[in-house]
Symmetry: C2
Subunit: 408 residues, 2 copies
């Protein structure tokens, strides 16, 4: 190394537990900040493991693997909520900087604890009931709760559900009791009243250890088969007052719980225009993917800034309305390869921002997403049509508007 | 692997020769397209080698190393112009897809060939003279050329110069002859007439093997110490007619030479408003870094699209004017680490888009850049002030507006 070679303080290292698409996209932002994201991945062909230069192969269920991944890193964070809390507490006791900390992450892992805490904070949540305890007690509690809500209820696994798994939408007693009877002993359940709703919203925010908060515009999320399919940013027709209320709720909760990093608060906008909290995620979230192309600071860059206690970035939209549409594995194998589908999409919609996760295609599996950024003042319906047309094409090799690729 | 696991045709692999910042930033775009950029890097701590999962360590001067890097890749491309042409011809003969091809890259490697070819095509170039041959002949040719141009000339190395190296700006006979006398025998020289100019411009375009072309808005580039310091996108006050002429010249030249990938045509806008071609680069270029945050398709994504013969992406600006400012290593070590400087910058200019290359800081070395994207209709002077303030801060830990970090 020559004499004038002057190395700055080495850039910080963030470890992300989980090698999925959220880690993959966080790595893109790490590169910009002069870093390389370290990922703990289960397999060498996980989405993030195939693109990062710093990969630890191991399991998030193994404390030793977590220790290996954390060694020498400035902060440890997550692309999913599945790490056992006891392991995180052990790491914290050993001096590892865990963001979000276990005391906060607990509420993203345990829906019952989350509901109880939100309720205690006076935040709007649906009526809910704990169905833990023995089967007899659970059946009794469910009968009372169901009758009170005319059986318009949702039974949920307290832990581990995502993308529609661990959630049962019900409308009669027999079906509800069958969920309890069918659950194995290890599955703790709870029930919630269904909320008569107009639509679903998401308030995405970030919080730093210093306590700085930043909120992106509130978005509308559209679910299909229990998972996020389309995001409209900002939520069309949402009043500034309601949007700000949603942002304040999310920022306040993050502060109360000591969240560090990005947090998504999924909300119901009820039929009478009120807000009810549905779920929490303490990590970058599908409802924030639009920010990669549509906001000044993406959720992935912001998550890194937050966990490193850097000041947070501007969250304004860069231009007009943005629509994100997920690319899902199709029910039947498309008639051409993904590479060919990309080729056709680029030819037809040259402004589509394609994000692929390097995953194999299985039915309904999220394998990528497409963002379309509208010009200022653009109609969100028109932007949405292009985004959904693009994503459906990548999923299925069919055009929603009937365009015939072969010109026949 | 389970039965429903359905792998699409594997995504293509692009190999980039050179592990510098251009490869590093191309990898960010590769990730979005479902790929991982393979890089041939000299060292494991090269900017791209520290972030990509697919790194071949070797030299671009070794045909065997080039072969190892090319094995199994869909296309081979470059982050610099230094690969020996004979090696590329050998690879092409072996069936490797080299983009840009050797027949085109030749003109980016050899300034004399470039001048001669552009002149033959009727494109505007400064008057020039070949100074190869023995020293006596070269001195005679230089004397005749210098006298004709009143010694307002530039002597250049035909090969290998960049960022101000291999270029001598002269204004008298003795100094010009001293360059010839001081050059070693291996250095082929040429001379050009200085162009009385208003400013420098860059026309950045891309071309695919299919022959599709795409042009970004023409930008103004501001040089300091012989290298690019600031880019204003679009070039302020440039008439639509002149901008289109520059784009057409670049697109036409790319077509004539068979360029594939991104090409920058650096231009002088002369004092009387004409355009003269200065240099060519056949790769992503410093004058296109603004596109990472300010254009729908960045030059790095576009380069990948082009070398893979995908249709090209939209090149429109996303929002208002954009200014890119390079972060250069300072003459003297700044008073705080880069990590601390980032912290302060993020606090003061939360909308600054920071791009760091993972390089150690040496005087005048490009270690990163900052983009500021203005809102539509923003004043480019105001945007430029923020971009230069941000980049100078990262370089030197001093604020150009006299702001005192310590509040003293």
């Amino acid at each position: 190394m020559d004499d004038v070679h002057r190395r700055s303080t080495t850039m910080p290292v963030v470890t992300m537990i989980g090698g999925g698409q959220l880690a993959r996209m966080t790595h893109q932002s790490a590169i910009e900040l002069g870093q390389c994201l370290r990922v703990l991945a289960s397999n060498t062909d996980d989405p993030a493991a195939t693109v990062s230069a710093d990969v630890v192969i191991g399991s998030h269920d193994s404390l030793d693997d977590l220790r290996r991944a954390a060694a020498g890193a400035n902060a440890l964070t997550f692309d999913h909520e599945g790490v056992p809390l006891a392991h995180l507490q052990a790491l914290e006791a050993e001096g590892v900087t865990v963001h979000p900390p276990s005391k906060a992450l607990h509420f993203a892992q345990d829906k019952l604890a989350m509901r109880t805490r939100l309720s205690a904070l006076g935040l709007p949540v649906p009526d809910f009931v704990d169905l833990s305890g023995d089967r007899v007690a659970a059946r009794a509690a469910l009968r009372e709760f169901g009758a009170r809500h005319d059986w318009q209820i949702v039974v949920k696994a307290v832990r581990g559900g995502y993308d529609g798994r661990g959630v049962w939408l019900l409308d009669d007693e027999a079906a509800a009791l069958a969920v309890i009877d069918g659950a194995d002993d290890a599955t703790q359940l709870m029930a919630e009243a269904k909320v008569p709703m107009r639509r679903e919203l998401s308030a995405l925010i970030a919080r730093s250890p210093f306590g700085q908060g930043a909120a992106w515009p509130v978005v509308e999320t559209i679910q299909r088969h229990g998972q996020c399919a389309v995001v409209l940013a900002p939520a069309p027709g949402l009043s500034a007052e309601v949007a700000e209320r949603a942002q304040q709720m999310a920022l306040r909760l993050a502060d109360e719980l000591g969240v560090v990093g990005v947090m998504a608060m999924e909300l119901f906008e009820t039929s009478d225009g009120e807000l009810v909290v549905n779920e929490l995620a303490m990590r970058p979230h599908n409802s924030g993917h639009w920010s990669m192309d549509g906001a000044i600071t993406s959720q992935f860059e912001q998550h890194l800034r937050a966990v490193l206690d850097y000041p947070l970035g501007a969250t304004d939209a860069v231009a007009g309305p943005v629509v994100m549409a997920n690319v899902l594995g199709a029910a039947q194998a498309p008639s051409m390869s993904m590479d060919e589908r990309i080729h056709h999409l680029m030819g037809r919609i040259p402004e589509a921002k394609i994000h692929l996760y390097g995953k194999s295609e299985r039915p309904d599996r999220k394998v990528g997403h497409v963002n379309i950024v509208g010009v200022p003042g653009a109609s969100i319906d028109e932007v949405r049509e292009r985004a959904e047309r693009a994503a459906t094409w990548l999923s299925t090799a069919t055009w929603t508007d009937g365009w015939d690729e072969h010109g026949e």
